[in-house]
C-alpha cells in the first residue's frame, strides 16, 4: 500500500464508507436534507479523519496496545472540538444547521474504524492518503444523498430553485423517512449495477 493514488481511490470507490462498508450511518441520514449540509458534514468529518489518522499514525509506536481505543478516542475528540470551534467562528450558519451532529463526529465509526484498521498499522503519508480517500468518499456520498433529497423535497439544488413553482414538492423527502428511502434506493441501484456487471 505504498501508492498514494491507489490508497485514495480505494477509499473513494472500492471501500466507500457509506455505500460499501455501510458505516457512519447516523450523520449520513441526519444531515443530508440539503446538498450544502451534506457537503459541510462530509468535509468536517474528512478534516477530523485526516488529522486523526496523521496523529494516530505518528503515535502508533508510543501508544500501548491495551489502551489504544481510549487513546484514539481522545485524539479524535480533540480534533472534533477544534473543528467545532472553527465552524462556530467562521461558518455559524452551517454550525447551526448541523447542530448536535458536529460533537457526534466523535462517535462516527468511520474515524475510529480507520484509526484501528489503517492508521495504527501504516506510516503517516499513507495514513493521510487513507484519510483523504475515505473522507472524500464519505463527502461524495453525503453530497449525492443531499442533492437527491433537496431536489425532490424542496425543488432546489444548492439553495437555487430549479423546479418550477407549479411542481409539487414532496416534503417527506426532507423529513426523516425520506432519508431512509433515498439511501435504501441508492444502495439498491448500486447493487443492481454490481449484479449486472458480475453476470
Amino acid at each position: 500500500m505504498s501508492n498514494p493514488i491507489k490508497v485514495i481511490k480505494n477509499g473513494i470507490i472500492d471501500e466507500n464508507p457509506t455505500f460499501v462498508q455501510v458505516i457512519g450511518m447516523c450523520p449520513t441520514l441526519a444531515v443530508t436534507s440539503s446538498a450544502i449540509n451534506g457537503i459541510g458534514m462530509g468535509l468536517s468529518t474528512a478534516a477530523v479523519l485526516i488529522c486523526a489518522n496523521l496523529f494516530i499514525s505518528l503515535l502508533r509506536k508510543i501508544i500501548p496496545d491495551k489502551v489504544r481505543i481510549p487513546c484514539f478516542i481522545v485524539v479524535i475528540a480533540t480534533f472534533v472540538t477544534i473543528v467545532e470551534f472553527l465552524l462556530k467562528a467562521y461558518l455559524p450558519a452551517l454550525n447551526a444547521s448541523l447542530g448536535l451532529y458536529i460533537p457526534l463526529i466523535v462517535v462516527n465509526c468511520i474515524i475510529l474504524g480507520r484509526a484501528e484498521a489503517f492508521a495504527s498499522k501504516n506510516g503517516p503519508i499513507d495514513s493521510i492518503c487513507d484519510g483523504i480517500g475515505n473522507g472524500l468518499g464519505f463527502t461524495i456520498a453525503l453530497a449525492c444523498i443531499g442533492l437527491v433529497r433537496e431536489f425532490i423535497g424542496s425543488g432546489t439544488l444548492f439553495n437555487i430553485t430549479v423546479l418550477p413553482e407549479a411542481f409539487p414538492r414532496t416534503l417527506l423527502f426532507i423529513m426523516a423517512p425520506g432519508a431512509f428511502f433515498t439511501l435504501g434506493c441508492m444502495m439498491a441501484a448500486l447493487n443492481h449495477f454490481r449484479n449486472k456487471k458480475k453476470a
Binding site: 455501510v22 441526519a30 472540538t81 462517535v107 423517512p177 431512509f180 435504501g184 439498491a188
Partner: protein, 192 residues
Amino acid sequence: MYLILLLLAGVFVNNYVLSQFLGICPFLGVSKKVDTAAGMGAAVIFVIVLACAASWLVYNLILLPLNMTYLYNIAFILVIASLVQFVEMFLKKSVPSLYQALGVFLPLITTNCAVLGVAVVNMQNEYDLITSIVNGVGGAAGFALAIILFAGIRERIEDNDTPKAFDGFPMALVTAGLMSIAFLGFSGLISL
C-alpha cells in the same frame, strides 16, 4: 407532569432512532433477531441512564466550576467509555447472568451515538439531574421500542421474496423509512 410528557415525547414523538437518527448503527446492525434486539435495547437503557447521571455530574460539578465547558465533548466520551468498561467488569463479577445476556452488546455501546447524543442534548438544554435522567430513560426506551419492532419486521422479511437488488441493507432501510412514517403520526401529540 412535565417529566411524564418528556418521557412520552422521548419514546414516541422525538424517537431517537426514527426521527433524530441517533444510534442507527446498532439499529441496523443488531436487528436481525428479536432476542438480540431486546438484549441490545436493555443494555442501551441501562447504560444511557447511568451515562446521563454521570455526564451531568461531570459537567456541573467539574467542568462548570473550572470554566472548562469547552472540553465537554472529550469529557463526555471518556465518561461513557469508562462507564461502559466499568459496568462490564461489575456485571461480570456480581451479576453473571445479566452479563451473559448483555455481554456482547456492552462494548458496542461506547460507539452508540445515542448515548453521547442524549448527554449533549441534556447539556445544551441545561436540564437538571432528574430531568436529564428522565430524558435519558425516554430516549433509551424509544430506542429499545424501535429496535425490537424493527427486528420483528426483519424476521418476517427474511422469509419473503425481495427483489435481488434490495437484498440486505436496502430493504432494511426502506423498512425503517416506513416505520419512520408511522412514527411521524405521533408528532404534534405532545408539545413541550
